[in-house]
């Protein structure tokens, strides 16, 4: 039809509005396709890796070696493997954990190079190799045994290589893993023997009970409580949320934007529509014509967005595999997501476009040719504001806002969304900052922590005794695992405070805030707990809640801990110390250094800054598009008014103030709304992410970053105003003179 020739021409006349909408669709589809395809690929490959390479269900340490592995395997229908490891001090600041190659559980996968074939060969994790400039074919001397690096590898239980399974942040500069053949680990001299188990039936409780009867179970860690294994699952959930929720929010924003633009376009063309009706065009033909605007934007936006998103899958996967110790992933372009990404804008925009067009086309040809039905009533908001008390400029600006509610809502929603995106980066960093500072700087005052591989007793020369064990309790109708930590009553190396920052002494039972929040536990509540290691059961009453987010931990006096668990008086499993202690490595299960954690966090800061920069740039683009489009709509709707202001003698500055600055309050309002919204969204996002992890991330947003974000949003607003100034200047005064207005 000939009238469709004008679609392209109209779009070019108002190109900023249409290009802005298309860019938003591109961003939405790009995020949707890239994140979903990449996350599905990571999840599929991870699942495949875990299945093929036999990820453990749990690992444990017992005081005495288990002699009858085969017997236990048969009895409980389990796969059980003895494992040995040795922590090698690669240099003064880094530890390389040498693992014995396994055959049944947690089998390694080669990422680069080849598998172990001979004695004297070693495979290392690529993060550690990169951080220490180690390459395939290099030689590595460990405890006087020379090894040749034959490749890079990963194991399913070290996908996120943490020194301790309760750590949070990895640091390849300080810790890495390597795998050697069984014979070689004996050459190096192992300092830890532990077991990995995989259950075929839900009989872990019976197995643990049996182990405890014949041996002393020192440590039992389910894969869910092992951050090395479970951390990636939390991140995957985060990635899936980003891949689903964010593009949908962008498309909702685009829908509002396009509906406002189309409504404006149709109103402007009432006369033409009326004339077309009068000429004999049907409603369907006219509707088809206006549908083309949405269809063209959707086709261009979704095709480009999906295409760019597909190109981003590979770099995104490289980023994930680089961060996690994962085997090389096979890129499988799941057509489901390509199709969904392409169709998503249509699914959102077609109904919205239909509603907008059909509402407008309800008018009769005569009404349309008269420019539509004029509203004669002042809306409720405008009435209730009692504008007479304000100065002219204020009245004009307020009227502009309340008269065009869809445009006002678009402005608020757009600014809120862009601000939320901007604050997301800052809030993530602030929350991590807070977690690290509160946990590793404020709470834990020790520098070194030594965990023994057997129960210790006696008096210490330096440091503080500690004991901890994993417990289970029925919380919220589910058996949940958590840690109870026995602490010396006079402890100076753990500093817990309550909500009002009052110091909490260790002569009482204290739970962390994260545990209290997760399970709804309050001061005075009692819980029945069962020790996972020795099945001892007792009831404890919660005295205080501490402001701590490291995990689900209950602190109690060490003497009470020993008594309730049936351990000897003054016995302990752990020593925390300010100074480095000289403890033989064969007595230790683990040794950790608080500085490693802080260094790990500092190492994460740079990529985090890039992430914040990336998010801020996206927020800036989205904010700029929305504010620019809304302002340009405002100018178009006010062309006659601007013209009149100019004729009356208003200076350019005065016209800018009346027209361009009328949205200032909306931008500020949008930003204010975004602060509580992002805090609530991020809290829910972190809860989803850490649901199955052994940490809680407290949501924080520092005032300085709120201020920085506000300045960025205001700069975006000022920029969009500056870009629109030309439009105001180009409004001709002569246009107004002959214009017929109602």
């Amino acid at each position: 039809m000939v009238i469709n020739k004008k679609v392209k021409r109209t779009m070019f006349e108002h190109k900023s509005q249409y290009i802005g909408s298309i860019i938003l669709i591109i961003i939405g589809c790009m995020l949707y396709s890239s994140f979903n395809i990449a996350m599905v690929d990571v999840q599929d490959n991870l699942n495949n890796f875990r299945t093929v390479h036999k990820l453990e269900d749990a690992s444990f340490i017992v005081q005495n070696p288990i002699p009858n592995l085969q017997e236990l395997e048969d009895k409980y229908d389990i796969t059980l493997e003895e494992r040995k490891s040795s922590d090698f001090n690669y240099d003064s600041k880094s530890v390389l954990r040498i693992l014995q190659s396994t055959e049944k559980v947690d089998k390694y996968a080669v990422i680069k190079g080849r598998s172990l074939q001979h004695m004297g060969e070693i495979l290392i994790d690529q993060g550690f190799a990169k951080a220490h400039s180690l390459s395939v074919d290099d030689n590595l001397k460990i405890n006087n045994v020379m090894f040749k690096i034959v490749g890079y590898m990963t194991t399913p239980d070290y996908v996120y290589p943490l020194k301790s399974e309760s750590d949070v942040l990895k640091n390849p500069k300080a810790f890495g893993i390597a795998v050697v053949a069984k014979g070689d680990i004996e050459e190096i001299g192992p300092n830890l023997t532990y077991y990995s188990v995989k259950f075929n039936r839900p009989n872990s409780d019976e197995f643990i009970k049996d182990l405890g009867n014949k041996n002393i179970l020192i440590q039992w860690i389910n894969k869910k409580d092992n951050n090395r294994i479970s951390f990636i699952d939390g991140d995957m959930k985060g990635g899936v949320t980003v891949g689903k929720d964010l593009p949908i929010a962008i498309l909702v924003l685009t829908c509002i934007l396009i509906s406002v633009v189309l409504t404006r376009l149709i109103k402007e063309e009432y006369l033409e529509i009326g004339t077309l009706y009068a000429l004999g065009y049907t409603k369907k033909e006219i509707m088809n014509h206006y549908f083309r605007y949405s269809l063209i934007m959707s086709v261009i936006g979704s095709a480009m967005g999906t295409f760019i998103g597909s190109l981003l899958v590979k770099p995104l996967l490289s980023e994930v595999t680089g961060y996690y110790n994962l085997p090389l992933l096979i890129i499988n372009f799941d057509m489901k997501y390509i199709i969904q990404s392409f169709l998503l804008p249509f699914i959102f925009l077609i109904p919205v476009t239909y509603i907008v067009i059909s509402r407008s086309l309800k008018l009769s040809p005569v009404q349309l040719m008269r420019g539509g039905v004029q509203k004669t009533k002042v809306n409720f908001i405008e009435k209730s504001l009692k504008l007479d008390r304000f100065k002219f400029n204020t009245k004009f600006k307020i009227r502009e806002m309340v008269r065009s509610l869809p445009r006002t809502m678009l402005m608020i929603f757009g600014v809120t969304f862009a601000s939320m995106l901007l604050l997301l980066g800052f809030a993530t960093k602030d929350s991590m900052d807070y977690m690290v500072n509160s946990s590793y700087k404020d709470i834990y005052q020790y520098n070194y922590q030594y965990t023994f591989n057997a129960l210790q007793s006696g008096v210490l020369d330096s440091g503080e005794k500690r004991s901890l064990s994993t417990y289970t309790a029925n919380l919220n109708q589910k058996d949940e695992n958590f840690v109870i930590c026995g602490v010396q009553k006079d402890s100076k190396l753990i500093n817990l405070v309550d909500r009002s920052n009052n110091h909490l002494s260790f002569d009482q039972v204290i739970i962390t805030k994260s545990m209290s929040d997760r399970y709804g536990l309050k001061e005075g509540d009692s819980i029945k707990v069962k020790n996972k290691l020795n099945s001892e059961k007792f009831t404890i009453k919660i005295d205080k809640i501490a402001k701590a987010y490291t995990g689900d931990i209950i602190y109690m006096p060490l003497n009470d801990f020993n008594r309730l668990n049936g351990y000897p008086e003054n016995s302990y499993f752990q020593i925390d110390s300010k100074e480095k202690l000289n403890i033989p490595s064969n007595k230790l299960l683990a040794e950790s250094n608080r500085q490693d954690m802080i260094d790990g966090y500092n190492a994460l800061l740079l990529p985090m800054k890039y992430m914040i920069g990336g998010i801020a740039a996206t927020a800036f683009i989205i904010g700029l598009i929305v504010i620019y489009v809304v302002t340009s709509l405002l100018i178009e709707e006010n062309k006659a008014n601007i013209s009149m202001f100019k004729i009356l003698g208003y200076s350019n500055k005065e016209v800018f103030s009346l027209i361009l600055s009328s949205n200032t309050i909306l931008v500020i309002l949008g930003f204010i709304i975004s602060v509580p919204l992002i805090l609530a969204s991020l809290k829910s996002f972190f809860n989803t992410m850490t649901k199955d992890m052994n940490i809680t991330i407290p949501t924080q947003l520092y005032n300085i970053n709120i201020l920085i974000s506000f300045v960025i949003i205001m700069l975006t607003y000022e920029l969009s105003k500056a870009l629109n100034r030309k439009k105001v200047l180009s409004v001709s005064m002569a246009d107004s003179l002959k214009e017929k207005r109602d």
Partner: protein, 232 residues
């Protein structure tokens, strides 16, 4: 003399063609006069009014109003000139739809250093009782009264009226013409009306006729009639 135009030309480029809207126009109006510019469509009336009002610029010649040559001043000074010296009345009133009657007058008062009292002005155009209404709630004649109030509230020296009765019925048109003459007397405002209705020239002291962009007649009307007696 309040306004003196000498040898003024104005052309427009439409597509690739140049079109002469005004050619060698010379005319003048004395302070306190009512002038009427008559001419058919396309004669250049509106272009002439726009140039006098400082909305468009002449290509050649001089346009001196109240001792200021509009062809020689920059955009800022031209804006100040419009702000301080000119009042406009339009055929289709050009009121701002989302402002009340009072606020539409306030639009002009807002930028004037020495504006008249808005209520008094509304009273003088008989619109006091409608001051809280919006333009769409008014008849055409009432809207034109508001337009006049808006034009005179800043005490302009020159009131430029572009087909002020063009959209109105006979009786309302006569009322508006009466109002314009009253304002001319009361505020000693010089008035220039462009129209194609020759009957309106009866209320004018000076009659200027345009055809194809040229002044074909510039005469003094010795038989000025009150608006009530004008018929067409």
């Amino acid at each position: 003399m309040l306004m003196e135009i000498k040898n003024m030309d104005k052309s427009f480029v439409i597509g690739k063609e140049s079109f002469k809207a005004l050619q060698n126009v010379s005319l003048g109006i004395d302070r306190g006069e009512i002038g009427v510019i008559l001419g058919p469509s396309g004669s250049g009336k509106s272009t002439l009014l726009n140039i006098i009002g400082g909305i468009e610029r002449a290509d050649r010649g001089s346009v001196v109003i109240d001792d200021v040559d509009l062809t020689q001043i920059n955009d800022f000074k031209l804006t100040q000139f419009r702000r301080n010296s000119i009042g406009f009345i339009f055929q289709f009133y050009n009121l701002i739809p989302n402002l009340t009657v009072y606020e539409n007058v306030e639009v002009a008062a807002n930028i004037s250093k020495d504006a008249l009292d808005i209520d008094e002005v509304l009273h003088s155009v008989d619109m006091s009782e409608f001051k809280h209404r919006f333009p769409r709630e008014l008849s055409g004649g009432q809207q034109q009264r508001v337009s006049i109030a808006r034009a005179i509230v800043k005490k302009p020296k020159f009131l430029l009226c572009d087909e002020p009765t063009g959209a109105l019925d006979y009786h309302t048109s006569k009322e508006i013409l009466k109002l314009i003459t009253v304002i001319n007397k009361k505020f000693v405002t010089t008035v220039l009306i462009i129209t194609h209705n020759t009957a309106i020239s009866a209320i004018a002291n000076r009659i200027i006729k345009l055809r194809s962009g040229e002044v074909i007649e510039n005469s003094i009307n010795d038989n000025v009639l009150p608006a009530e007696r004008v018929v067409w």
